[in-house]
């Protein structure tokens, strides 16, 4: 396939206008010694039909969650996506627009981002939010950087119950930023609150928590955040954006910065990305926020309009003194999340959250009745829970897979302390029949 549109005659016409006789002359600045004197070792181009055959043959080698029943979670969830999300977010006006630096030519996407920022505030209980980050892990790393800018401290305490990918990304960023990461231990699936006081001192810029956490358990944010604040540190909470349908959002407990994986808001699983990081904060930290921010304004005729604001925080203006190096964010995923959240609305998000909660608890109770299976933790959970088994985890999950069920994530894949456990996520999409089939598969394992 070729997407260029010059005919041979037009190439000649253009070369004539430039005043050269060959395409080669245009590349004269590239020294001959640096030229590639052969074809790239990549197959020659193909027609669309051949391309689709090739793509389909690869796609057909995969067994995805449209064929299998998915109880996998750990940061990526098989939620229902209303048809309007694909229909509206797939519009090429959104798909093929550039970053809205030119406000007059970008009012639609700017207004959409402004509304997205507001929806994120409504979901998290926070004052302000930006127009998205890459995903939750790098959003958490940016949040720690933001906290450090705010209070000038150089250490961060990160709960062991935070998703290991987030912890690893935090560590990678910290290694290059002269920042020390200290681990806050867990106990019975939640933060060990007794360890918290000892771990906190006035060198700690922030404490990073996740609730619902890696194990699906709900942290006692009401007590923990007070303790964090008592030591002058900022509380950064990673959360599930739909959990607010059942649980108080982190903003209700006075969190300073909230980050979240926005995938649950209308973004397909896509083998882990692209997703979108949500980042929300307190109004007073507005000027310390990384990433794009859209504000409402007026044009010279007094009409309502939208534009990027506080661009002097950003790399294209401030260069080495920017609050972050982020440039491209996740615009199109923010479109999906906005459409999804608008269509679901107050009632839909509450229903989704309630059904996740009820179904997860139904599945957990049924699994716990089986011989050789029990719930690993007693702490309250939202849509995900850890099962301990006396049998071999790989064998058990293999049996589920034979029945067309992705029964859970073997916990040892992400936390090697729990090699006899697996993590089960239950979304609103799962039916009682599917949960009973999971229970039957586990029973026969």
């Amino acid at each position: 396939m070729r997407f260029t549109q010059f005919t041979g005659d037009e190439v000649q016409e253009a070369l004539g206008a430039v005043g050269v006789d060959s395409m080669e002359s245009l590349f004269a600045p590239i020294p001959d010694s640096l030229r590639l004197k052969r074809d790239l070792n990549i197959p020659a181009g193909v027609s669309e039909l051949e391309l689709l055959r090739d793509a389909k043959s690869l796609a057909d080698k995969n067994d995805d969650c449209s064929k299998l029943t998915c109880f996998l979670g750990a940061g990526a969830y098989d939620h229902f996506i209303p048809t309007v999300v694909d229909a509206l977010a797939g519009q090429s006006e959104f798909l093929t627009a550039y970053t809205p630096y030119q406000a007059e030519a970008s009012q639609g996407i700017l207004q959409l981002f402004f509304e997205f920022q507001t929806l994120v505030c409504q979901l998290t209980g926070m004052d302000i939010a930006n127009a998205s980050m890459y995903e939750v892990a790098s959003a958490a790393a940016e949040a720690v950087g933001m906290a450090r800018t705010i209070n000038g401290r150089r250490r961060a305490l990160v709960a062991q119950t935070v998703h290991p990918d987030t912890r690893r990304v935090l560590q990678t960023y910290a290694d290059s930023q002269d920042l020390e990461i200290v681990v806050l231990p867990d106990r019975d699936g939640v933060v060990d609150e007794r360890a918290l006081e000892g771990a906190l001192d006035d060198s700690m810029a922030a404490v990073v928590l996740q609730s619902p956490n890696l194990f699906g358990c709900v942290e006692r944010l009401d007590r923990i955040i007070d303790e964090v604040h008592a030591h002058g540190a900022l509380a950064i909470v990673a959360t599930d954006p739909i959990a607010g349908g059942v649980l108080k959002p982190p903003g209700a407990f006075d969190a300073d910065i909230v980050v979240a994986e926005g995938q649950a808001l209308g973004v397909p699983l896509q083998y882990g990305g692209p997703y979108l990081g949500l980042l929300a904060g307190r109004e007073k930290y507005l000027r310390k926020m990384p990433g794009r921010l859209v504000g409402m304004s007026k044009d010279r005729d007094g009409r309502r309009g939208f534009c990027l604001v506080l661009q002097t925080r950003e790399q294209h203006i401030k260069r080495e003194r920017a609050t972050s190096n982020i440039c491209t964010n996740e615009g199109l995923l923010a479109v999906r999340a906005a459409v999804h959240t608008a269509a679901m609305g107050r009632c839909g998000i509450s229903t989704v959250a309630s059904q996740c909660f009820d179904k997860a608890h139904y599945a957990a109770a049924e699994i716990a009745k089986l011989d050789g299976f029990e719930l690993r933790f007693a702490a309250p959970f939202f849509k995900e829970f850890v099962v301990r088994t006396t049998r071999d985890v790989t064998t058990v999950l293999g049996k589920c897979r034979e029945a067309g069920i992705l029964g859970g994530v073997a916990l040892k894949r992400i936390d090697d302390r729990f090699d006899d456990c697996f993590l089960v996520a239950v979304t609103e999409k799962r039916t009682k029949g599917e949960m009973d089939a999971l229970v039957a598969a586990l029973k026969g394992a």
């Binding site: 396939m1 997407f3 549109q5 253009a14 206008a17 430039v18 395409m23 590349f27 590239i30 590639l36 790239l40 689709l52 793509a55 080698k61 995805d64 449209s66 940061g75 797939g90 519009q91 090429s92 006006e93 959104f94 798909l95 093929t96 550039y98 030119q102 007059e104 030519a105 970008s106 207004q111 402004f114 509304e115 995903e135 790098s138 990304v169 290059s176 930023q177 944010l221 009401d222 959002p249 083998y271 882990g272 990305g273 692209p274 507005l286 504000g295 044009d299 309009g305 661009q311 790399q315 401030k318 190096n325 491209t328 995923l333 608008a342 609305g345 009632c347 839909g348 909660f357 309250p380």
Partner: protein
């Protein structure tokens, strides 16, 4: 001439924007709907409802649902449809946006990424379930390595700037492994803003290297600034003024002689695909912007992807996990890289974006990729040749895929911003402006535009040049056909209103 004719150029089929289709000011989402409405339909729960208080402490339970909008499906559809009409997009408009490579985003990319088998894979599925996806990623990894002329590629970074940061971390890890602690990263003064910002994000000090009048790196200044504390030079080649710096091999020698690394910002790869390879001109490490070079959609500012290619000596430090082909021919993830910098992103990367990039590379093949570079460079030089009589060209041709020009303002009071805004009235997205030199416009037509579109752009620029001389006010007050006039951006930043508040 009537006012209307003066204000609205003959835009023919290039009607500026949906403003004509939908002249009304759309409501803000939060002004729509009524209590109790819902735009989505969910089945009734088929399990018993638990009393929340029985299992969760009351202090942690929400006392009311989140205060979200309540809007019926049709009004949700109309709202976003109306917003979509108020956006410029590559599918409707020409975007000569320098350094951003706003080429056509082939529809087939979207179709492939949406295939069942790609779109609904969970990142924690077993490798046996995802062999086709892993094979695709492995092929892409190999293709990008070949295009870069460097042996290995990580697909993990989420965007170009994220790739830059990852690369700098890799370079730091390399220096540390040799017992060195180098803290300075050089970049020419014409570098993208992300370069110095990425330095800071990695704890390095950024030092700027002067460019000469012809846009090339000032070798004397480079030699003066390189020393044993230099970790790397970040360079863009062809650079941001649209010039291929033919000193690049010498630059590499200077950098390497000091024990530093040469990093290439791959933003301008479009101009050299299949013509020359960074690895062959001395680059140790580079990132790609898939949303520039490989046609993945910009989406109003993302998602991108920023794969990083490295030379052999940097391989041990790349992020984990890496997609590999095993001896038995199957594909998998390898986490065994003890010197790795770690992870820079959750899971494995922007997979859906990478599927699109793979699709594009497979569509074009080696022949099509070379054609991209040729036509991109031809288009840029053609437009420059057509405009050089009316606009100042600070750098001599031939140009790469983009070029810089400066409007002749004389005493008209017109600025480059006004020129850019006036282009909106012609249905053309404004170019990059005021960077890397004062008052300039940076024009990158891309290879996918027809000669007719390029001619339309040339005509628009010539008519604006006339207007600057004859009717500067019409330029100064542009745009006239957009749904809003110029916005009070200063006021919006002074008193930021970044969240809808019900009282308003």
């Amino acid at each position: 001439m009537s006012t209307a004719n003066t204000l609205e150029p003959n835009v023919a089929s290039h009607v500026a924007m949906g403003s004509t289709r939908f002249p009304l000011q759309p409501s803000v989402l939060f002004e729509l709907g009524s209590r109790g409405l819902c735009g989505a339909s969910l089945p009734a729960s088929d399990v018993p409802r638990l009393r929340r208080e029985d299992v969760v402490p009351a202090e942690l339970l929400a006392d009311q649902p989140p205060p979200l909008p309540e809007i019926g499906e049709l009004d949700v559809v109309r709202h976003y449809k109306r917003l979509s009409h108020r956006c410029f997009s590559v599918d409707e408009n020409f975007y000569p946006l320098g350094s951003c490579t706003m080429k056509y985003n082939p529809r087939v990319n979207e179709r492939v990424a949406g295939l069942e088998g790609f779109a609904h894979l969970h990142p924690y599925q077993d490798e046996g379930d995802v062999q086709g996806m892993l094979e695709l990623l492995f092929r892409l990894r190999s293709d990008l390595a070949e295009i870069a002329g460097l042996p290995e590629v990580t697909l993990q970074p989420a965007a170009g700037a994220h790739g830059e940061m990852t690369a700098l971390m890799v370079i730091n890890a390399y220096h540390r492994s040799r017992g060195e602690h180098r803290t300075v990263v050089l970049a020419p003064d014409s570098a993208h803003g992300t370069n110095p910002a990425s330095c800071t994000s990695c704890g390095a000090t950024h030092v700027s290297v002067r460019s000469k009048e012809d846009g090339r790196v000032d070798m004397d200044d480079l030699r003066a600034k390189v020393d044993a504390n230099t970790a790397a030079l970040m360079i863009t080649n062809p650079n941001t003024v649209g010039v291929f710096d033919e000193q690049i091999a010498d630059i590499a020698k200077v950098i390497h002689a000091a024990g530093a690394q040469l990093y290439l910002d791959g933003a301008n790869m479009n101009a050299i695909l299949g013509i020359t390879r960074p690895g062959d001109f001395g680059v140790d490490c580079m990132h790609f912007n898939t949303h520039k070079t490989f046609s993945t959609p910009h989406g109003g500012g993302g998602p991108g992807a920023g794969p990083v290619a490295v030379a052999e000596h940097l391989r041990p430090f790349l992020p984990v996990p890496q997609v590999i082909q095993r001896k038995d021919g199957t594909f998998g993830w390898c986490d065994d890289r003890p010197a790795s910098i770690g992870k820079v992103r959750s899971f494995y990367g922007q997979i859906g974006v990478l599927v699109r990039a793979y699709t594009y590379i497979r569509s074009l093949g080696h022949d099509g990729l070379r054609d991209v570079a040729q036509k991109a460079v031809l288009a840029s030089n053609y437009v420059a040749a057509k405009l050089k009589h009316r606009y100042s060209m600070p750098f001599p041709p031939p140009y790469a895929h983009e070029f810089i020009m400066v409007p002749r303002f004389d005493n008209s009071g017109v600025t480059e911003h006004d020129v850019a805004k006036r282009l909106i009235d012609h249905g053309i997205h404004p170019p990059t402006m005021s960077w890397p030199i004062h008052h300039c416009l940076m024009i990158e037509p891309t290879e996918t535009e027809s000669i007719h579109t390029l001619n339309h752009f040339v005509d628009a620029m010539l008519s604006i040049a006339d207007e600057i001389e004859q009717n500067p006010d019409v330029v100064r007050t542009a745009p006239h056909t957009a749904p809003v006039k110029r916005l009070d951006e200063v006021g919006a930043t002074r008193k930021p209103y970044v969240r809808w508040k019900p009282a308003d």
